[in-house]
Symmetry: C2
Subunit: 331 residues, 2 copies
């Protein structure tokens, strides 16, 4: 297998990106293609022992920075590591593309640049895999499409189901629509319009509408929403988890006895942090393109990049692209 | 002041509702009018020492249960405690109405029943007041209007600003729109359409668009959204806070040393619970009607009902209705 890693992706590129590539090459023995400024990549690679590893470097002269506007980068930086890397996938020189770069930039380059939308796909979906009380939930869309139509949500449900089944090994994954109530009459116009489409579709195991509480309790494997609602949803979860931890730590430190208690309880906090660590999962698959693209957090470290490569590998092995292509035309 | 308390509101009515009414009458010396089935209210009242308190009972023969469909109750239960209680406000026999009842039912009775929408108000807004890192934030809408237009959001911003100023004492409250990014280009069509309206309105102190993180960090006093997004937002916060606490407690109990630590740290957890306790605030003001309506949690206890009466009092004292009526026509 040949997997491209964007060496210019993460907030502190190229160190975490190159380290992740080395970790991945070591773990799976695949060929990892680092794309980006060669003069920055080579010295970074030299810091690692890469004897026997299959690591290639492909030069790209431009970098899409976190501060770049998505609308400017597609034509404005045609030799970026995103353009060059995705072209390798498009041309069959690589099987998947992994980046921790500017999400808006990835979306723009992916849909208007080399890879393009798969035939029959109305809109690509940016998913996320996040922890809940029982394990993991897959969510889509978390930001690619702020305004959606019912047919888009149906396709999101189909594409994420394929990924959950073929790349994550979940048999017949349950799909719920995120709503403001479980009852039939609840939901906005978009949700109400999507329900009959979901019901009529045997390729999607639709189990009903759910509120955030049920999603976090583990009552579904996949939760579907438009990109605006999904973005608010997932960021609310992230920032509340962080706020509650901060409040608890602050209160624990405020008293002598409670702070002794807090010290003793520290390993428990560490276990919770590990369970809710987004870097354990890797990244967010961007589905609906003519190739596998995984978008990792900008704050990724080497381990997170490696885990994102792991996701990409499972998607390639699971023939996710072929399954989406076959199925989407029959929806 | 004369304030109506729905005796048939809470999940375990009439005990918490009657207790809250007694607490409120004792604290402020106002007249509290308990509305509901007299044969259930009288024995409950007898459990309290009400010597010298101004408590009246007004009989209503029907009860809107939590399981009732909103569409069925407006005409289906015309002698409910909601109909009778709101009529008292409508007719000038009371100043405000407090209920811990079925939210959908309240919305239906309030907009189609006795009170009605205030002239000039396009849609009433159901707000919520919830804790963040620095204090409290007011949110609107959290469920009254799943689908909104920009003009509705502008009115929500105006009405919540009046409440924050005149009932909560916040000078020139900051108003943000909830969005999937702070930058200009972010947001769905609704948010993009609302921005120019907010900018052009001097009665609203619009400070920009915010993500959940900034809202929880205390960067705004009011956050505005449609009722679908707001419902998902606030329920995500509630259920994540509960999930994180559960995970931490579970992990603390899992080890001998960490569980000793957890015991010592217990007061810290209690302080966090108190800070994030929705019952400390009281309820959710429903604004845009011809009278003050406060909707408390169904799970309210006596203290929560009392606090909801306190909110209602401050809204009456602050002339919230008059200020909305005056201002809404000039928007």
């Amino acid at each position: 297998m040949r997997i491209v890693v964007d060496a210019m992706g993460s907030d502190s590129y190229p160190a975490p990106d190159v380290e992740g590539a080395v970790f991945a090459a070591r773990e799976w023995n695949d060929t990892i293609i680092l794309v980006g400024k060669e003069d920055l990549i080579r010295p970074e690679l030299a810091k690692h022992d890469i004897t026997g590893l299959n690591i290639e470097v492909v030069h790209a002269s431009e970098v899409i920075e976190m501060t770049d506007k998505p609308s400017d980068v597609v034509r404005g930086k045609p030799d970026s590591s995103m353009h060059v890397g995705m072209s390798l996938v498009k041309n069959g020189d690589a099987d998947a593309y992994v980046t921790a770069g500017n999400t808006g930039g990835v979306l723009a380059v992916a849909t208007l640049g080399p890879l393009r939308r798969m035939k029959g796909v109305k809109r690509p979906v940016l998913t996320a895999i996040f922890p809940n009380l029982t394990g993991m939930v897959m969510a889509g869309d978390i930001g690619a499409n702020a305004d959606c139509r019912p047919e888009y949500l149906l396709q999101f449900a189909f594409m994420t189901s394929i990924f959950a089944k073929q790349a994550m090994g979940i048999e017949n994954p349950r799909v719920a629509l995120l709503s403001n109530g479980e009852e039939e009459g609840k939901g906005n116009e978009l949700i109400k319009g999507t329900i009959p489409l979901m019901r009529g579709q045997s390729a999607v195991n639709y189990v009903g509408n759910m509120e955030p509480k049920e999603v976090l309790a583990g009552e579904t494997d996949i939760v579907i929403h438009d990109g605006f609602t999904g973005n608010v949803f997932i960021k609310s979860i992230e920032s509340t988890a962080s706020m509650v931890s901060k409040l608890i730590k602050k209160e624990i430190k405020a008293g002598v006895i409670t702070s002794v208690g807090g010290m003793l309880a520290k390993p428990a906090f560490a276990r919770v942090s590990k369970h809710t660590d987004p870097f354990e999962v890797g990244g967010a698959p961007l589905l609906g393109l003519d190739g596998i693209v995984i978008v990792a957090h900008g704050r990724s470290n080497g381990r997170a990049i490696k885990n994102a490569v792991g996701q990409a590998r499972r998607a390639v092995e699971g023939n996710v692209i072929e399954a989406i292509r076959e199925g989407v035309s029959t929806l």
